[in-house]
Point group: D3
Chain length 242, copies 6
């Protein structure tokens, strides 16, 4: 049951949430869930290589283009609740203030699921820092003794990890496939907003095809044409086998 669920997505850079979970986000919104995306940085330093090749590029110009692009993508996904925390990237350095802010965010939103970066990305130190950060905050937000005014303790939510770019070298293992066939077109359209990263558009379009193939093969369900995969931090806990 998607309707009524709450999904929090924490994205290191401005486009990560689209490449890696745009389909799931679109599906949850379409299905009546509440979805909130927190974008920690605009990826000005680390994920805007092609923008910096343009003559006269400055940090401000790059940031403004990144913001425009990601808002356009969010719009296509019908994502209204998106926050830009606007920290610096490459490196993204976590401090106590950010931790308290994230704990507060988690408590305020009280998500059923969090999706964020998986625990290791061989080629992206920022992604690794975010995984650790979000996980720590999720545990802390569960604890009654951590008193933050105006917040209520959460109970443990399920946490899922994004696919890193080079999965095998990053020790990534899919723990959950989500069928995104119905919203595939939205994901492709959203990805196309990031014009300076055209090689990634093709890359993640193919990824949805590949994960669809895997989902069919693993489940025997022939309706799964496109899919996204995520790693799991925790096992499935349920009243039946899933």
């Amino acid at each position: 049951m998607i309707a009524g669920k709450k999904l929090l997505v924490v994205s290191a850079h401005a486009a990560d949430y689209v490449w890696r979970s745009g389909g799931t986000i679109a599906k949850y919104i379409q299905g009546g869930a509440e979805v909130c995306v927190v974008v920690l940085t605009f990826g000005v330093r680390g994920e805007s290589n092609d923008l910096w090749k343009q003559a006269g590029a400055t940090a401000d110009k790059v940031k403004s283009i990144r913001k425009e692009e990601t808002l356009a993508a969010a719009d296509i996904l019908q994502l209204k609740d998106i926050e830009f925390w606007d920290y610096d990237d490459y490196p993204l350095v976590i401090d106590r203030m950010m931790e308290e802010r994230m704990v507060k965010k988690i408590r305020d939103f009280a998500p059923d699921y969090i999706i964020t970066h998986d625990k290791y990305d061989v080629l992206n130190p920022d992604h690794n820092a975010v995984c650790d950060f979000v996980f720590r905050c999720s545990v802390i937000s569960n604890s009654n003794g951590v008193c933050i005014e105006g917040t209520r303790t959460t109970k443990q939510m399920q946490i899922f990890g994004f696919e890193p770019h080079q999965t095998e070298l990053s020790h990534y293992v899919p723990g959950q496939f989500v069928d995104i066939t119905d919203v595939y077109d939205k994901k492709v359209a959203a990805m196309k907003c990031f014009k300076a990263q055209s090689h990634l558009i093709e890359y993640y379009t193919q990824r949805a095809f590949m994960r669809g193939n895997h989902a069919r093969r693993l489940s025997g369900c022939q309706n799964y044409k496109y899919a996204e995969s995520f790693s799991r931090v925790f096992p499935v806990v349920a009243s039946e086998l899933l």
Copy 2:
């Protein structure tokens, strides 16, 4: 949705399926699923240590006690569909005939889920052989080119692994918790049928308590009082996050 599902359990010895999945079996039967248990051996040589301490023990006498006990347990679980293939154990040696028989069984029953031994049990070579055997047969049963008269190719079913006795030394990791609070009493009663293994009754009673504690902590769901855990061979494949 448990009703209407089909669950096949393959048990190396006469009591394995009770210790490790008795609650899930009872729950699925009670919930309207079809459950079939295949018991490969009576565990005469390898899992009847205490019976052999009785004066005048012979293989036939041990086998007959084991069968009586396991039928009594099945009765408590309301399990009607149980097959005894009656192979030798310690070691349980798999051959081509057994493989064809198992492929046929899988195709005839066409389970949605198979539960069997996990891939490694540090203290039980038979368990390891069964894991490998069942997994191989499940793949083969999916293949159109494997023609066995009167059978139809299956599609890939989910496969779950039993907890081995010493989990950490056996590299066991829970991938799925099933809440068995409602049927806990049945499981305990079923376990008590194996009189000669009284130390295991206490052991697996406590295990249900421990896994219940884990299930609550991981899900925040306070209703989960007792649970069974299983390893997963495959990821979750679904139309939502689970």
Copy 3:
């Protein structure tokens, strides 16, 4: 030979050392060893969930209850040498001052063994920080070039890791079982001092039974009724096979 040995236990929160090594501590004290426990935090924020449910709870009240409870437990274990370093928890942030203090402690006490948290606890970031911290300090304390007035360089001591709460998800593997049959009653009594964590009392009581079962099965020694297990950082180094 326990008599004359020196055992240092470093506990992230006020009760960790009791749940996870109370039996071994009692046994070593009873056997004539010197045992010192360093409690880094009172666990006010992260490990006092139930105390915070009481009306009018404040950090000071919680801390004072935690201290009372842990002193009562220490008393039952006949542990006299216990230090409260009283840092904040959740998160427990390590700095250079704490490192120097711990190196000094290790050098002053010169333990034969250190027991502390294992390298990964899926549900407790503080435990992970402590493992890393103690290990680093133990290596530094061995180095002649690290000059701290009034201290003498140690030689490498063996280091053991506590069982985390959910062992398999935390990649915990037992490397050492210690028979605690003789002191089991003391451990149970000590655990009962932590009234607000009654679910853990049952949990760790059962754990001692389970590890006793494992110890018997792995050694053939039928006298081992209750046990504690620890992970090993280093191999056994000895003049015989152990």
Copy 4:
């Protein structure tokens, strides 16, 4: 306490037990233990490369040289109880008869410790087969229901694994170091009996030096000059920390 202990060593080929455990064998014999070595094959096909370079080499001649050499080595180690089961190697194929023979051997000798090949040797399929074989037999020998005339069920003994030749590629991790300083000269003399494998003599002489260095560093015990290391199948189970 070495005196009175019983140590069974199972060696795939004629020289394995010398390179990999010659020091420990000599030490145990010297210390008053009973040591039995079972040599499964003479290594005629797989471990006699240099002998086959000699003009006129035949399987019989190679076997006879290997036997002579290994008896000379055993003599130096003062090992009297050595059995040659004389199976073919490369590949060493295990069958049911060999299993029953090994179970009987284990029951008759009732060792406190078994040393055999570790679970994986990247460059030697025979070694892998032997590990699996011995381990399975050791479990079966513990089971009351496996009735072999004239034998008595054993209790679980500790099992240790030899260092393979290329340790890191074989995923070998030392779990136990044994100081062999006192018997080092015997080990070197025993190794020198294998004239056709002179490169291995230097190799395993250096290995004893390297493991001695490790043993000192890990224990702080400066008396450990030479050592052998073994992997552990099971944790340490004891009444104290070791």
Copy 5:
């Protein structure tokens, strides 16, 4: 230097070598290497799902189509030296005769490199059997004492593993990328010969694009447009860093 090198490819089924190494084969042939492919089975039972859906399918008809297709593919790759050993698949059962035949083949051809299946394919037991089989034979072929008339002992060749279909679930890690940009068209054309497996054509076409992306990112070499990846059994051994 490709010219003059000898490459042996061992393929479990009739099309494996094309999907997984067709580009590398074409490149080596084009570059002046000697390439030999051994196809162990036609994949009649396990890898011809779609052919069996055709009315009137029989094992003989399926086999004959598979052979035709694979010969057409080989032709496009300009591969002349291809052998069909025509064993049964699903399951592919290895025996001593096959081992001797493969050892002889390896010795006769004396390859510098062997490419075969990687050590684990979560969904294909035949692939696992072949990996183990080829590896064992490669070690045995190096041994002087394994006397097979008319053959000469080899020296250790490098061994590479195919990408399995679902890489992450199969624990596959790329150890070597080979740029196949120049021969990409040939690979695509060769894949198109397998008409009944059209979903795989798209799948492995995209895979070449994905691996090309990875190769560029990891090397900075922008000329790598399409690539194949393989796992490594052994490290690189060379007179320089590679």
Copy 6:
């Protein structure tokens, strides 16, 4: 082709680069490569145990001896480009300034290869910190958006890891062997400059012999008498199999 290549070596302490890569450095210099070594600390606190045993030792005296020794070693290796960044060790604490300095260094030198510490050394926390530090800086130096005046973005270079002292306990796996037979004498002479660490001279002399043995066995190339091994961070990416 070594000539013209650029190799950057980052060494935590003053002697690490000699023990672990002295042969490769000498070979690259002799072969016409550009080699630059950055020594982060003199190892005054953590790697000068024996110097501190001398009467009247002070940090300044130790540092000055370490510098003299390492310059003498560099001289023997014909290494002219060596930088001493002179940070404190034990612990070596990385900050943002050091990161920027290292990124600048990498960009200025634009190495084809970086050799530094492997990702885990069980007995040396400084080594672990350096691995992480260098790796992060190498990724950041590739990014166009990280603007540092006077520098140009690099492309991804290959990164290799030193052998730690106790390889297996540090999870070290060789990914690359480099034959150092031709420059072996230089390496031995360079190591002898570190008079106070005589046990390491013997240790790493033997290591070269052992790795030579491995290199021969894995490649069949009998000319490899002495070798150094390194771990790989990335796979081989090339236009052929290596």
